[in-house]
């Protein structure tokens, strides 16, 4: 039997000491304050999205013979990821779903070494329609566009990045 050296510590962190002090604010008030603060970032979020969209479009439309360079595709993946976060934070469901689909497709293309620009361009065009401040689309139109994007993923048989993703490491409930 192999013997493994092991140490077990029972540290007290300063965060625990601070949180144990009396006073402070109620959790409901903390949430209220934080939610208010987050809403002030909507303009910043929209500006970030417009920058990210512009960066993605520049790369996607610069394809040579329908092919994209690997570093360009990696940049698209990063920028699309930022849009997913922003769209999900402020509840732009259509844009969130289209951006996720772009991430799935771009990641799939990179993984398989395919430089095709067409599936990316079609996603970029769809996203442009859903960016806040642009065209006003109805729910039905958004659903139809998203269904078409799903067909692109299906054509390539790309798995979704969210499929099989581990859930948050949720801690147990805290009493009090």
């Amino acid at each position: 039997m192999t013997r493994v050296a092991k140490k077990i510590h029972f540290p007290t962190t300063r965060l625990a000491e601070l949180a144990a002090r009396p006073g402070g604010i109620s959790q409901s008030r903390a949430l209220e304050e934080a939610t208010k603060s987050v809403q002030t970032l909507l303009d910043v979020g929209l500006e970030t999205t417009h920058h990210a969209m512009a960066a993605i479009e520049t790369i996607a439309y610069s394809a040579q013979n329908g092919r994209l360079a690997l570093d360009g595709m990696q940049n698209i993946l990063r920028q699309a990821d930022h849009i997913v976060t922003m769209a999900a934070t402020f509840g732009f469901a259509g844009l969130e779903e289209a951006s996720k689909s772009l991430c799935d497709v771009t990641d799939g293309l990179i993984s398989r070494g395919l430089p095709d620009s067409a599936p990316i361009v079609v996603h970029v065009q769809a996203m442009r329609l859903m960016v806040p401040g642009g065209v006003q689309l109805g729910e039905e139109e958004v659903s139809r566009i998203l269904a078409e994007l799903a067909k692109v993923r299906l054509h390539y048989e790309f798995a979704r990045l969210s499929a099989g993703a581990p859930v948050n490491t949720d801690p147990p409930e805290i009493a009090g």
Binding site: T2, K6, I8, H9, F10, V38, V44, P166, P172
Partner: protein, 194 residues
């Protein structure tokens, strides 16, 4: 959550994320919770340099940083000799394309993993949890970090009935994996019956 109170005034946070929007978002939430304005960086190297010279109460890291995986940074923190540094609570944020890095971050010694986008409620819950829940810190040849088991254990069975029979803080103790796991298991039904 009721009306329980949380006093996080004066708590310092290191926030490392490549996305400026996320840094701004999390910083606003932390301020709303009454915490100090976090120190923010967009890469791991700058965060390391900061940690060597400043005391931090909480680390919030993106799963993939521009210059390294967060797992590398977490391992570096967990192996530091300066004891307050290696024990600091670490929360890892994963974006849509980073879900596959969850296992790596966990195995590197992160306390909790949270998926983006992070809502104020989720972030507050997680911070409250790491602040209020004391978890043993395990240090072995291939892992250093909080005990990853979330089970609420019943009293131990057999000779060693106290956790402290196994845990000798600050002293190397030789025990096998099997012995340690056996000690941490709740008593079997058979043992209770007898």
């Amino acid at each position: 959550m009721g009306q329980s109170r949380l006093n996080l005034r004066g708590a310092t946070t290191l926030l490392v994320d490549s996305d400026a929007f996320t840094r701004g978002l999390i910083a606003q939430m932390l301020r709303g919770f009454g915490m100090d304005t976090p120190t923010t960086y967009e890469n791991g190297a700058a965060a390391k340099a900061h940690l060597l010279h400043h005391y931090i109460d909480l680390c919030i890291l993106e799963a993939v940083l521009p210059d390294m995986e967060c797992a590398q940074l977490i391992k570096w923190i967990r192996r530091q000799d300066k004891s307050p540094l290696r024990f600091i609570p670490i929360i890892v944020l994963t974006s849509y394309t980073q879900h596959r890095h969850v296992a790596m971050a966990r195995d590197a010694g992160a306390n909790l993993i949270v998926k983006k986008p992070v809502s104020p409620r989720v972030l507050l819950d997680r911070i409250a949890w790491v602040a209020k829940t004391s978890r043993p810190f395990i240090e072995t040849a291939n892992y250093a970090g909080p005990d990853r088991r979330f089970r609420n254990l019943e009293p131990l069975d057999g000779k060693n009935k106290r956790e402290t029979d196994f845990a000798v803080a600050n002293d190397a103790e030789n025990s096998t994996d099997q012995e340690l796991h056996a000690a941490a298991e709740p008593p079997s039904k058979k043992a209770i019956a007898s």
